[in-house]
């Protein structure tokens, strides 16, 4: 086989393009502010320092980190659970008129962009007296995670052989028991994929925290990055440290769950 020069050089070129900003943000985070302005911006620091990270931590990032964890876990666990139950019902009751309509309601949701409905969401949150709480971010996040989760999980449950459901029924198991004891373990790979995907988008969410919270205590990481950046202005190394620090948890999570996420996404969209 001849080598694919075009593809190959493009692949390596892209690697450089993709890596330059990441390399830059990491090395800059270890520089002093003074040396940042006088040395080459792409040269590694001569005397790496950790002061920038200390600044970032003292600016309250531990709190913001915990807020992001609360929002992500608080939204992803219920979102995946209710989506799984709905997906199970939709697949098992495929002949039922009502379930078919419910499914089309969820599929309609795939076409609703979150950005377009933030104003009424803001109104609802105010009326529920939940403005400026983490719950205000959690509830709409769950709602907007549901359509894609139901779609992926239903596709997956549909592949469980009918005979397995039949034998559960013969053994006298109800729908509730069949769902948890049969479908749940068999769907685990898809559940993990959906959970990772939702965690990523909720963890990185910006517009809901921006619109639904205002106080410092309720800030999540992306929003905190933005305010930190506007407060620290010219202190580029400190800003670089804040970006690096907030990125480390997701990169770690990615390293652990990579296989799942990639195969799941490929299968989910690649048809």
């Amino acid at each position: 086989m001849r080598r694919n020069w075009i593809g190959g050089s493009l692949a390596w070129l892209w690697l450089i393009v993709a890596m330059v900003p990441i390399y830059w943000v990491v090395i800059t985070s270890f520089k002093t502010q003074a040396s940042y302005f006088i040395t080459n911006t792409f040269a590694p620091p001569t005397e790496p320092i950790l002061d920038n990270y200390q600044d970032v931590l003292e600016a309250g990032f531990v709190r913001y980190f915990l807020n992001s964890v609360t929002v992500s876990v608080g939204a992803v666990v219920p979102a995946v659970a209710v989506s799984f139950m709905a997906a199970y019902a939709i697949v098992r009751g495929a002949g039922n008129r009502w379930l078919r309509s419910i499914n089309s309601v969820f599929m309609l949701g795939l076409a609703i962009p979150l950005q377009a409905v933030v104003i009424p969401v803001y109104l609802i949150i105010i009326r529920l007296q939940m403005y400026d709480t983490l719950a205000a971010i959690i509830l709409p996040s769950i709602a907007f995670a549901i359509p894609l989760s139901v779609l992926v999980l239903a596709n997956f449950i549909r592949d469980v052989p009918k005979e397995l459901f039949e034998s559960m029924r013969v053994d006298g198991a109800g729908e509730w028991g069949t769902m948890w004891r049969l479908a749940f373990p068999l769907t685990r790979p898809a559940l993990v994929t959906v959970a990772i995907y939702n965690t990523l988008s909720i963890w990185n969410g910006f517009i809901l925290p921006l619109i639904l919270t205002q106080s410092e205590d309720q800030r999540t990481m992306p929003l905190a990055l933005w305010t930190f950046q506007s407060e620290y202005g010219v202190n580029t190394p400190a800003i670089a440290a804040s970006v690096t620090l907030t990125t480390v948890p997701i990169v770690l999570a990615y390293a652990i769950g990579r296989r799942q996420l990639l195969s799941g996404l490929t299968a989910g969209f690649g048809k």
């Binding site: 002949g95 990185n204 619109i211």
Partner: protein
């Protein structure tokens, strides 16, 4: 594992058990249905309703007929925002699609590098738009950024301070952020093209380029449509990145529809007109995705260039 891969049979089968069992099953959908209705369906109708009112975001909401629509439709800002939105959408499609297809094809064929490349390639996919915007903002600084670092004078531009350059930069950053995702989609699709097709082509003496245009691209047709739909709809809702990077500037050079809505509503406290803009956003999104679906549905004859 590619456990999700088998194309599921569509729900057309009516043999499934129905009758009494459906009732119990409906209960299982209720939690999802409830929260989805409250925070997605109700807001969808809510935004339409709010576009016929006057509201400053804090006080009471007054019905005001078509006032908001009048304001929005007579302002030149809307047309400008629509234009910029479509410009960024079109340009980023033009950059992302060829790059993702080529990278996807390459990655699908080269197992050797894949493990290594995959780790690094997909990092942009993990970062929040806020983090990306902040990084590029510093990196593009005309005095201390990429220009001075590489010693290449032409890179020392005021990238985000010039209208044309800012749009170009935005397209570049959007591509940087999303090419990994689309590459992933294409890689999966390329791997599911039957090997025998290539073997047959080889016997017929088709070269690599020929194979790419007569087998790979036509086979990727539906994937191109899926990926394009995601790109198009995604670029309509581009908000976080632009908000943090340029806040719509310089002037209103990068003020896309979603940003126009936010600034009108939460910046100027004009929730009525902002809702009208949001309705336009929803309609444009629906229209475009229908259009792309049509494009995909027209016969399964392979067109040479896909879309």
């Amino acid at each position: 594992m590619t456990t999700l891969a088998p194309p599921a049979a569509r729900i057309t089968e009516t043999t499934a058990p129905s009758g009494g069992r459906g009732g119990a099953l409906i209960w299982l959908t209720l939690p999802a249905l409830l929260i989805f209705t409250a925070f997605a369906i109700v807001p969808l109708f809510g935004v339409l309703a709010l576009s016929f009112t006057t509201w400053n975001g804090l006080g009471t909401i007054h019905p005001s007929g078509l006032d908001s629509w009048n304001t929005v439709l007579t302002e030149p800002g809307l047309l400008h925002a629509l234009g910029i939105t479509f410009l960024i959408m079109g340009l980023s499609w033009l950059v992302q699609t060829p790059a993702s297809v080529l990278l996807g094809v390459f990655l699908a064929a080269h197992f050797r590098y894949r493990g290594f490349l995959a780790v690094l390639y997909f990092i942009p996919l993990l970062l929040s738009s806020a983090a990306i915007a902040i990084t590029y903002k510093s990196l593009l600084d005309p005095n201390f950024g990429i220009g001075s670092g590489t010693g290449l004078g032409f890179l020392s531009q005021d990238w985000l301070g010039d209208s044309t350059l800012a749009v170009g930069m935005l397209v570049f950053i959007v591509s940087w952020q999303y090419i990994p995702f689309h590459t992933l989609i294409y890689q999966g699709a390329v791997r599911s093209i039957p090997k025998t097709m290539y073997e047959a082509a080889l016997i017929d003496g088709a070269g690599r380029v020929r194979q790419f245009f007569s087998i790979t691209l036509p086979q990727l047709k539906y994937t191109i449509i899926t990926s394009s739909t995601l790109m198009v709809v995604g670029s309509l809702t581009l908000f976080d990145l632009i908000y943090v990077l340029t806040a719509g500037g310089p002037g209103d050079a990068t003020r896309v529809l979603a940003l126009d809505m936010y600034e009108t509503g939460f910046g100027k406290s004009l929730m009525g007109p902002a809702s009208a803009i949001a309705v336009i956003l929803v309609l444009v999104g629906l229209l475009l995705s229908q259009l792309l679906r049509r494009l995909g549905g027209r016969g399964d004859e392979s067109q040479q260039e896909g879309v």
